[in-house]
Subunit: 209 residues, 2 copies
């Protein structure tokens, strides 16, 4: 009993480090970048609030459990921004090693249970995992709409790239949600295009001294 | 459909502000104070990991839902440190007004559902709410053990005060967990007492110039 509790508390102390892992997206007021611990809380709330957008086969409490623990591997592997070019296989291997170490801190039965949930999320094949991925992908879009463009500007992202990297996955899990959010995102990009100065204005004749 | 989604998204954008509400307890590495959003994630993980410490009547997924949303009122009402002297009734009224406004951003049925969960947590009468309160009280103790005393030092807290303000509530929800954590906390206070310099050392004779 005591050993089990000691192992569980060691895990709970270790995962505190997720509060120090920074993501590419700034928080809504644009004051600083979001960390992965508060992101995990926010997407768990997204799942709870948007549960009706999931199909009837989705068990929302399992989705919430997946979302709460899916980023813990970032303590060792770091966050990989979706718009950053990277070696996906090398990063996945790093995450699997992180899962081995971090979930391995727990008593064996719990380590197996959490690892299975994380593997299910990563595989994105079950209805629960597909909806969880949907939620994880949608939240940064809403943050960028609130913070004025955030990581879209930093990574020079186009609407086509969002359709490609985010849209397809969100459509799979929550099509009505995607239609709603996509319209807002398209509005943002249209307003950005409209505010780009015309060439004449951008390169005015030098003013006479 | 669209109006419902718009209201839900407005709520999800508004609660991003919980990431800016600072608590009294520093995070484990003592680099900064914890915010209420990442705290909410951490205690949801506590509930998931320590579910076996709850009685058989506790439904852990309901506890997790409660913990995810119980601090949202702090966006308007602020965090009230447990060791700070305050007008409890005035603060409770502020929190109820915050719950009215914040949950009121949601579609009516969902606003009612979330408000009922929050009221249940606050009342601390059901088995789920009692366990949720237990978890919420235990996590700061473990953080302070990791960060070197944290808010205990800032608020000049004694072991008796912890027994009184925290121990009783944790005992109600998870007695074995309390015995384990209490022993660690007592060890911390004993080591602090041992390292306090003796009166002679604390008030040395003025050195001769």
């Amino acid at each position: 009993m005591t050993d089990k509790l000691a192992d569980q508390i060691a895990f709970l102390q270790e995962i505190d480090r997720l509060k120090g892992v920074l993501r590419a997206t700034p928080i809504a007021d644009n004051s600083r970048r979001e960390n992965s611990a508060e992101h995990s809380w926010h997407i768990a709330m997204y799942a709870l609030v948007l549960a009706d957008e999931a199909g009837p086969e989705v068990r929302i409490d399992r989705v919430i459990r997946m979302l709460l623990l899916h980023d813990i591997v970032e303590i060792d592997a770091g966050d990989m921004p979706i718009h950053e070019v990277h070696d996906a296989e090398a990063h996945a291997a790093k995450e699997r090693a992180a899962a081995d170490r971090l979930f391995g801190l727990l008593p064996a039965a719990q380590a197996t249970e959490f690892r299975a949930l994380w593997d299910e999320f990563e595989a994105a094949e079950t209805a629960d995992a597909i909806f969880a991925k949907t939620i994880d992908r949608v939240q940064p879009l809403l943050l960028n709409l609130a913070n004025g463009g955030g990581s879209w500007i930093d990574y020079d992202v186009t609407l086509d790239q969002i359709d490609d990297r985010v849209g397809e996955k969100v459509m799979r899990g929550a099509p009505a949600l995607w239609h709603h959010v996509r319209a807002r995102v398209a509005g943002f990009f249209a307003s950005q295009a409209a505010s780009v100065p015309a060439p004449e204005a951008a390169h005015p004749e030098p003013r006479k001294p």
